[in-house]
Structures are given as structure tokens and as C-alpha cells.
Symmetry: C2
């Protein structure tokens, strides 16, 4: 174990946002500043030989050539049972301190993995990766410490924060449902071949509003995308935008009624913008968008775990690189 | 057009239940009695060359050798835009008379196709094939003329009948969602490989009851199948039964609240039995199951269209072959 030997020396940290479909690596310095970054499609399901060590070595090779061996911290599905080393879930309420205590070291490496968070009880739920994005968001937006925050994505999360801790959350399969239905269901076959990616704000808005109006639930709503085309109410070329609107609209309907109004959206800017359009259709405006907060979260967890030296007293530099608008 | 020339002669009719994935053919005689039957996997999406004529000729070749050219009537997706000849939807309220008026002849053949039914307005919906099963069900169970009937399947239908006419309906994508999520989503990867088909009544029941208890909607419910396994609440081998329970339970929750209590289930006996178990968990018992009602429906529509001779006066023979339990 070389954790402390090199950390003080360089003051540098490798932060890895390592999910199912991609690996993003950041070289962080003083206060979490991003010195350099790399991205590869080496998600844990994209490495058929599961040679995580080789992937890590390769994505950080430039940095270790220049700076020598560096401490590294990873968040995301790399800590799942299908990942490199399983980092056991931390229970609610969970914040930076519990995450730092729960770090799982990967044997014979300088890498530790941030645990996910589990909600137990009648409605079990889990997250991996979002907990780190939330820690990062709080470093630049401390007013979110007592708020509802939405992280849109493959498995969209609605998170209740209380005193800076994750106190409860709900997952919606919005992104995965859209991808799977578009590619493999009858709903994806409605759109004419060349029109699949056409952006049609009207189709999207109609879907959001249909999801608000209906009381019959998603399984029936989804079929309305097909029926509306067949009876001539919706152009076939708008059906995917309508489907996207139905799924996001249904998520907003359910999330707003169970978790309440979100103060911020965290994630891919284009996807967050789509959620903001949908929220505005429902009369909810001025929701902030935060992007790329994982590196700041990893830096904060590393500080708590004393893997890198704490910020100097008096330093007021904002360690977050993500843009906020 | 040879429609009338041969009909009176033989008193025989070829009935085709021609859907997306399969083609079922019946040779019907006096009163709708099934004389012979054939089934092939020649659904409209399974015939890459779209040579519907060759498929029809081949599946009826034994019968035409013995009886000469026969009149034929088909119901199902064969009448859709992706089928052989499009049979325009009939509007609500729709019954046997409107379906007989809407038959679409296939040029240069003895085949006519039963139209589907469209619901227009705020919640457009469509059916193709179920309208014929309903007509068939009414011949053996006339008490269903004013009732709610459920037809479970790929696209499950909840149908309100009034005075023997379809007066409104709601489709749920239950069957397709199960198939797509099982094969292509993260939910299908939970179950250990040999356990995919294991029947686990407990997993199914837990899914049905979870769908009843939750107010957050299907998109979030679905993720609970994964989260419950990850936190140790559900054995991985039960996750597909749980998923099936969630989807059917969510359909029942929505259907019961918007359409009301069903008097009968029509369709595949094993699938209907699964719905009956779920209904019983919710305290709804003694729901009948009707099977294989399409041939009786086709016979009744053919009678209305005077394609085959009307039943002799005084004949009280039950023309339905489907078993009822």
C-alpha cells in the first residue's frame, strides 16, 4: 500500500468517473483544479476482457510518465459487483464523511473506489456515481444542502438532501426505457428511417403534456405514441420526440408529487436542458444546471480521507470546474 | 371476385388469425365448427419477402385440394399498413355489423380482412384482432355484452362493451415491455443464466403487491426490481417473476381504477391464469377465462357479411369451440 507515500509529495490526484459505458479521467491539482483530462469508451461493460488495470494504466500513462505514480480515486459502476472491486453500499443518510470512510482499495494499485449509497426499507433503491456528483455540486452550490436535486440519465435520480447528506431518493428508468424502446420495441419502428434524430419541440412538448394529463400510467401512455400516429394525430417523424416527452413528463409528474420541486439539475447539459424545457412547460422555471461535478466530488472525498493534503487555511478558491447556469 | 359463387356451395370457410408473429388457420363448417386447423410462424413480420399469397396458399393447400377454392376471412395485423391490404379502422362504437361492413377484399383472392377499431379523441387507441376475439366471445358468452373484458398479451387491452359493441378501450404495453426489458435492459441481466424460466410464485406475488402499494409509477417501480436484488431483499433468480408481477400489477392497478372490474379474460390460457392469480391477490375472484375465440368471431362476421350462409332458423348449436373455465 503506497497511499500516503506519494500523496503529499505531488499534491496531484487522478479522479476517475468510471461508469457502465465510459471512463473519464481527470488530473487534479491544488483545490481540485482540473489540470488535464482524458475520456475513453472503456466503461465496465465495454471491456470484454475485464482488464481494468490495463485500462487505468493506459488512460493515465502520460500523467505517470510526467509525475510518477499517483494516487487515484474512482466513482461509479467500477465499484459494483460487475466492476473491479465491489465497494459496499453506504446507508442513508450519507455524505462526504461516510463515503470517505467507505472507500474500497483495489489491491496492488494506488486506486480506491467510492462506495454507492443504498436506501433500504419498503422502497429499496441504489445509486453509484451520483453520490460523488452530489458531493461535488455542494462544493460550488452549498445552498443545495437542503434541497431536491435531479440527476437525469440512464437511471434518473431524484435526491432529497438534508444538511448536506443524501436523506432519500427515487430512481426512474427514463433514459434506459427510451433507449430500449427506441431500438427494440414497436415504438421505434414508427419513425421513418432518416427522421430518427430529427428534433421536434412540438412532439416533445405534446408528450410532456400528455403525460401530465393522463391518469392511466406509463404502460398505457407509451402505446399512445403508436396509436396517435396510426389515427393521424401525430406525424410519424415526431414519434420519438413524443416518446421522449412522455417518459420525461411521466418522471416529472411522479417526482414532483413524491419528492417535490427540484432546485437543480446535475448532468449532461443537453439532457438537463431538455428536462428544463419540460419543467418550464409545467410552470417551474429558473432551475439551475450543474455539469461535470464528479471531479470536485472526488477531490472532496479524497481530502476527507486524507489521501491528498487538506486545503490551506484561508484558501477560498472554488474547486469546481463545472459550469453552472 | 368470386365471393358468392363458392360460398353457398361448400358451406365451408377458412378463418385466419394472422398476427405479427404467427398465422393460425382454421377450416370452419356449419355454425363455425372447427373441422381442421394449422399453425405456422408466418406472422407478418416473419415473412421477409412479404409473400402473403404464398403463405396463404401453402397453409390452406390440403383444404383446397379436398374442397376446391374456399372463401377466407382474416383478422389481425395482416390488415395493418405493414400487412397485405390495409383495412381502415372502424370507429367506436363498433360491433359485428360495422366490422362486416368494413371488410377489405384482397384483390385477386378469395380473402377479405376484418378491420381494426380506432378510438379517437384525447386518448387515441387502436386494436386489430381483438375486435374479432370479442365478437367470438359474445357468441358463447352473451352476458359479456355489457361488461369490461381484458385481453392480456403483447399489447394488453381493457375493453368496455355496451349492448354488444366496443364502446371504449385502453391498451397497456405489458407483454412487450416484459419481453424488451428481459432481453435488452439491465433488468434481464439480474437473473442467473439457467434461472430465467424458473417459475417463482412468491416473486410474482411480491411484484403484484409492490405495484399496488407504490404511488410513484412504473418507471421507478421497474428499477426496484434491480435495487431489491442489490440490497439483498429479493433473490436474483426471482427477479424476472418479480418484474412480471410489477408489470401485470401496474396494469391491474391502472385498469381497475379507470375501466373497472373485468368480467372475463380472453386469450392464451397460461397468460390469463397469471392475470387471474394477480386479480385474486387483489381480492377479485371468479373471473372467467375464454380461449381461442377468434374463429367464432370470424364465422359471425362472415355470416353478417353473407359470405357464408346464415345459420338455419331453429339451430341452437353453440358455434364456439373455445373452452371456457
Amino acid at each position: 500500500m503506497h497511499f500516503t507515500s506519494s500523496s503529499g509529495r505531488s499534491g496531484l490526484l487522478v479522479a476517475l468517473d468510471w461508469g457502465t459505458s465510459s471512463l473519464r479521467a481527470y488530473l487534479l491539482a491544488d483545490g481540485g483544479r482540473i489540470v488535464d483530462r482524458r475520456a475513453e469508451s472503456w466503461g465496465i461493460l465495454q471491456l470484454p476482457d475485464r482488464d481494468f488495470g490495463a485500462a487505468l494504466e493506459r488512460i493515465t500513462s502520460d500523467w505517470s510518465r510526467e509525475h510518477g505514480a499517483l494516487q487515484a480515486l474512482a466513482s461509479g459502476m467500477i465499484g459494483s459487483a460487475q466492476g473491479w472491486v465491489e465497494a459496499a453500499y453506504v446507508d442513508l443518510p450519507a455524505g462526504v464523511a461516510a463515503l470517505a470512510r467507505g472507500l474500497a482499495p483495489v489491491p496492488d494499485t494506488r486506486l480506491r473506489i467510492v462506495p454507492g449509497v443504498a436506501q433500504r426499507g419498503d422502497f429499496p433503491d441504489v445509486m453509484r456515481g451520483e453520490e460523488t456528483q452530489l458531493v461535488g455540486a455542494l462544493t460550488s452550490a452549498p445552498d443545495l444542502a437542503d434541497a431536491v436535486v435531479v440527476l437525469p440519465g440512464t437511471h434518473s435520480k431524484w435526491v432529497r438532501l438534508a444538511a448536506g447528506l443524501v436523506s432519500g431518493f427515487t430512481t426512474f428508468m427514463t433514459g434506459e426505457l427510451f433507449a430500449v424502446l427506441r431500438t427494440h420495441s414497436i415504438l421505434g419502428r414508427l419513425a421513418p428511417a432518416g427522421a430518427v434524430d430529427a428534433s421536434d419541440p412540438d412532439g416533445f412538448e405534446r408528450g410532456v403534456l400528455a403525460a401530465q394529463r393522463s391518469s392511466v400510467g406509463l404502460s398505457s401512455l407509451l402505446f399512445s405514441a403508436r396509436a396517435s400516429v396510426l389515427v393521424g394525430d401525430l406525424p410519424a417523424g415526431s414519434s420519438l420526440e413524443y416518446l421522449s416527452g412522455l417518459l420525461i413528463g411521466d418522471e416529472l409528474r411522479a417526482g414532483l408529487s413524491t419528492e417535490g420541486r427540484p432546485a437543480a439539475l446535475i448532468g449532461d447539459p443537453a439532457l438537463c436542458a431538455r428536462y428544463r424545457v419540460a419543467l418550464e412547460l409545467l410552470g417551474i422555471s429558473a432551475v439551475r444546471i450543474l455539469d461535470d461535478t464528479a471531479p470536485a466530488g472526488i477531490w472532496a472525498i479524497a481530502e476527507h480521507a486524507s489521501i491528498i493534503s487538506q486545503r490551506e487555511p484561508g484558501s477560498s478558491r472554488n474547486p469546481v470546474s463545472g459550469r453552472s447556469n
